[in-house]
């Protein structure tokens, strides 16, 4: 088994210092959590460790031996194994094939399938990571896929496991299972670097927490001496409290769905099945659920991008006859999409152009209805950039160069400046750091106070329980009854997310 010593790593990209004199030690059988906001330098450090980048200064030792910089091969040989946030599995191949992919020599004529199968079975027994070697990846759940990723790394003989945001895609139950598995591996001598910004998981699993901020190591603390508040403050550099929803009396109905059904293509199951939902003024209704249970379809429907096959859609009591994004925007819908890069912005276009993209053809941004009024648009953009604190070198910067948090601020600014009556917020804080999360929540709560009805789609129960008024669970395209957030708890909703709708009290 192994220990890892990272000494004085510095990495610069042009004028930006991504890693500034970072040192980190991981002993055998130890779990070190690496905590930090987006852009704090966690990924850069791990990329240096894994040989994707070469550090400008500093060196890395494993078991006292210097690791060859810039060689992924050397890193793997030295016993490092990385489980990426986004899985790197071939969907059309089986578990065993995926594990053998890239590990077995191409120059051997003899098939090693039998030997590999035995090795995999032994590993999966040893660490109680159960998988069926012959199952196709496409049949597996997200949790199972992650197990395959971990097995793949173990198969290559990793002794130091790096997990990058491993729980981002898991249900609470799957997260629990993963943490159990990790604890078990540690007892057999494995070392783990656990990258996350979910504080409660870090507190549960790690022995030590190292915190990065702006590329520098700002502190190290034994987990037993830490709590959420301490960690959050270390991470952000100041006290951050996530805002709580104050009590408000809900007003008139804004959006009402009655028995909405969206049928799947061909014989596939309905994508949305008999959804009935009402969102009123001054309230936040949350939809909890594991990704892929119909959230995307529901979000597209409420964004005006998808039509429905059955049911009734009412906005302020009036029937909405068809989906039409620009019409929805004119009626007062605001939408925060799930995917900032893919749908929320046009990355090649400038910040100001993105800020006005939903106001096309609306006064006063357009001269004679057809020409862009550069002055009016730039003035408006400057206001929004200031008001929402969007950090960019200039408003002419292409939007793709913004960090995740700033990109989300851009979308928030565009959405909320129109004073929408209804806001669809689909995973509004996914991948954001504590400071940005607090900002997004403040803005959503402010819109709620102003009278908007908000539908929050989220996988993050902490988020739902801190700002939502009512909550329901979506599962296989159906939704549960709405529950008052005050009258339920995380365990109950978590069970419902796994499909146990009977957990409804």
């Amino acid at each position: 088994m192994a220990n890892l010593k990272i000494s004085n790593i510095t990495k610069r990209f042009g004028s930006l210092t991504a890693n500034d004199d970072i040192s980190l030690r991981v002993d055998e059988g130890e779990v070190v959590a690496l905590l930090g906001e987006n852009g704090a330098g966690k990924t850069t450090l791990m990329n240096i460790l894994f040989g994707h980048y070469v550090a400008d200064e500093g060196n890395i030792e494993i078991d006292g031996e210097r690791l060859v910089p810039g060689s992924t091969d050397a890193a793997i040989k030295a016993g490092l194994g990385m489980v990426h946030q986004h899985f790197t599995l071939a969907e059309n191949m089986s578990v065993l094939e995926n594990i053998m992919l890239g590990t077995e020599s191409l120059w051997s004529l003899k098939s090693t399938v039998g030997r590999s199968r035995r090795k995999l079975e032994n590993l999966s027994k040893e660490y109680s990571l159960q998988v069926n070697p012959d199952a196709g990846i496409s049949e597996l759940s997200v949790g199972e896929r992650q197990r395959v990723e971990i097995l793949k790394v173990l198969y290559r003989g990793a002794k130091i496991l790096i997990l990058d945001e491993p729980t981002a895609v898991l249900t609470p139950a799957e997260t629990g299972q993963l943490l159990e598995n990790l604890k078990m591996m540690v007892t057999s001598g494995m070392s783990i670097i656990f990258i996350s910004h979910k504080l409660h998981e870090v507190l549960e699993i790690s022995d030590r927490v190292s915190v990065l901020r702006h590329g520098a190591m700002v502190g190290e603390i034994a987990t037993k001496d830490a709590d959420k508040a301490i960690l959050a403050e270390m991470m952000v550099g100041r006290k951050v409290t996530r805002p709580k929803a104050e009590k408000l009396e809900p007003g008139a109905s804004i959006v009402e769905l009655k028995n909405i059904t969206v049928t799947g293509a061909g014989k596939a199951a309905d994508l949305l099945n008999d959804i009935s939902l009402e969102i009123r003024q001054n309230e936040i209704v949350a939809i909890a659920g594991v990704a892929g249970n119909g959230q995307r379809e529901l979000a597209e429907l409420l964004s005006g991008l998808r039509s429905w096959d059955k049911g009734e859609f009412r906005y302020k009591g009036e029937i909405v006859s068809r989906a039409n994004a620009s019409e929805f925007l004119r009626m007062g819908f605001g939408r925060i999409p799930e995917d900032r890069h893919h749908t929320g912005t046009v990355g090649e276009m400038s910040v100001w152009e993105n800020l006005v993209s939903e106001n096309l053809r609306q006064d006063p941004y357009w001269k004679f209805g057809k020409f862009i009024d550069f002055d009016a648009n730039r003035k408006k953009a400057a206001e929004l950039i200031k008001q929402f604190d969007i950090r960019c070198s200039s408003m002419e910067t292409p939007a793709r160069l913004l960090s995740g948090g700033n990109m989300q601020k851009l979308i928030l600014a565009r959405t909320l400046t129109a004073d929408p009556n209804f806001v669809l917020a689909n995973q509004p804080v996914r991948g954001l750091d504590e400071g940005a999360i607090a900002f997004v929540h403040e803005q959503l709560l402010a819109a709620r106070t102003k009278g908007a009805g908000i539908l929050l789609i989220s996988e993050d129960l902490d988020e739902i329980f801190s700002i939502a008024d009512r909550v329901c669970v979506i599962y296989h395209g159906r939704i549960s009854q709405l529950l008052e957030v005050r009258k339920t708890n995380i365990q109950q909703i978590g069970a419902m997310m796994g499909g146990d709708m009977k957990a409804v009290a």
């Binding site: 930006l16 980048y53 620009s326 893919h342 046009v346 990355g347 090649e348 276009m349 993209s357 096309l360």
Partner: protein, 349 residues
Amino acid sequence: MQIEPRENISPWRVVFAPITAILVAFVLCAFLIAWTGEAILESYGHLFKGAFGSRFALSETLNRATPLIFTGLAAAVAFRAKFWNIGAEGQLYFGALAATILGTGAITLPPLLMVPFLFIAGAIAGGLALLGPVFLKTTLKVDEVVTTLLLNFVILLFVNYLLEGPLKDPMSLGWPQAAAIIDEGVLPELMQRTRLHIGFIVALGASLFVWAFLRYTIWGYEIRAVGANPNGARFSGISINRTVFIVAMLSGGLAGMAGIAETAGTKGYLTLDLSPGFGYSGIAVAMLANLNPLGVVISAIFLAGIYVGADSMSRAVNIPTYIADVLVALSVLSVLVSLLFVQFKVRWR
């Protein structure tokens, strides 16, 4: 080797990268010239002189550049919206057909009206040629690369039929060619006793128009948004189908105007060899200009210069004119590679 994106792109790099790339293309091509046994610098000297060395050479180059500017703009505007119109060749012939049908005596207007009338008719005809592909794309999601490309051959065969039949000029002594454009419709010459005609000025105007259209209008904004990220564009309420339609009409219209320039300008009547592949070369022109409408003018003149210069080079020294195609292909490839260096930096270690 590591490739990292650049944080800020200096304008110098944007200008010098393509110039360096084209020099590289010339150096690579020099190997082929050396292979034929001719002197490299002397051959290139003939090429340059043949393209730009005299009043006549320059007029020939600009004349050749005129249809290339139109088809280059047609490709540039379409590719900006990721609408892959490979059918400029067919649209060019549709424009030429419009010139022939309307401009050989069916309608007679004073020259001041007749010339603009022909250009408008050609643009409309070019746009019409794209209606089918647009309809198939927006309703049935049929890939426009296939439909526009194949339509080229359909249109060419259709023109062939017309020239052998209904549109055949009885005075042509049996040649498959249409009647000449009437004098009122012939594009006035720009330089005396050369083939350079007013179409070149119209092409320059078209490039300014396309540039301003993309930059200053809502449609231009929508075209750029749809091209850069169709999902994002759709999300902000832009109708993809409407944008595709506008782009297609613009692109087809520009290609159709190339047909007018050739029939009513350079040649005077429609034949089946009216275009030596201007529609396809337009794609190279657009790529060379990195889809910039103003850059299209420069790259069209550059390409035209190579073609015209290669003709005179082949007359002076023993190098076949095919060298022009090689030079153009190498230039496009090396410019595309150079654009990579503009956006990314490569570190060797």
